[in-house]
Symmetry: C2
Subunit: 106 residues, 2 copies
DNA sequence: AAACTATATCGTAATATTGCAATATACATA
DNA sequence: TATGTATATTGCAATATTACGATATAGTTT
């Protein structure tokens, strides 16, 4: 198997899971943190910042881009990445119910 | 490979990634949402609530338990699960920096 | 004790993820 | 046009995840 049965769950649940998966790797957390820290579009910098090979970072960037968390703009022969503000705000909204609920049980 | 190089990243980054991974499946999102909704310890209910086989749910519960998101108390021959409040609060704190930062770029 | 109920574990098949070397693509500059 | 720079894609090996049938464990009830 190894195949998540997404059709058995709500669209909202799948969306949260997909976005959580995009964050579910330390390299991708590091990329997000870095982009938030510098608060600007950066190009080559990420490859120098992380201790992983260039193809590996490119792959992680692709996943973050697929999830809509970051976006890339072509800038000459380089590509500038930055946080995709609208989607990122939406993520905050999606996670709020499960990360901000006060639980009074136990 | 297929082996995340956790030693190359900070403890904080790995912690966020691990917790995100625990949320990164719609069944586990559904379990968390359900526990927050009923706001009480429940036992057998989860197996009836989700459209997956009992061993599969047991496996997902184990992962949530390992991540510290839920806890289980033995109650007769049943086991009552509920949100692990202290850890859940900690998660909120861990995610706040990357999910609450205002980004002014682009 | 025997039967029932609730949950966990084992074993296994299918699929996904991670990481990187090699290579390709695309633009810039000499 | 040749060379350099930046990023993406391909291909592959190692490992992880997902799902579930079969079975085990543990308490409960008859």
């Amino acid at each position: 198997m190894g195949l998540t049965k997404t059709d058995l769950f709500s669209e909202n649940q799948n969306e949260i899971a997909t976005l959580a998966r995009a964050i579910a790797h330390p390299a991708r957390v590091a990329i997000i943190e870095y982009l938030l820290k510098v608060n600007t579009c950066i190009c080559n910098a990420i490859v120098n910042e992380l201790p992983l090979a260039q193809p590996t970072i490119s792959q992680h960037l692709k996943e973050l881009k697929n999830a809509g968390i970051i976006k890339g703009n072509i800038e000459g022969n380089a590509i500038c990445y930055c946080i995709n503000e609208p989607v990122f705000s939406k993520i905050q909204g999606l996670f709020r119910p499960i990360l901000s609920t006060q639980n009074k049980c136990c």
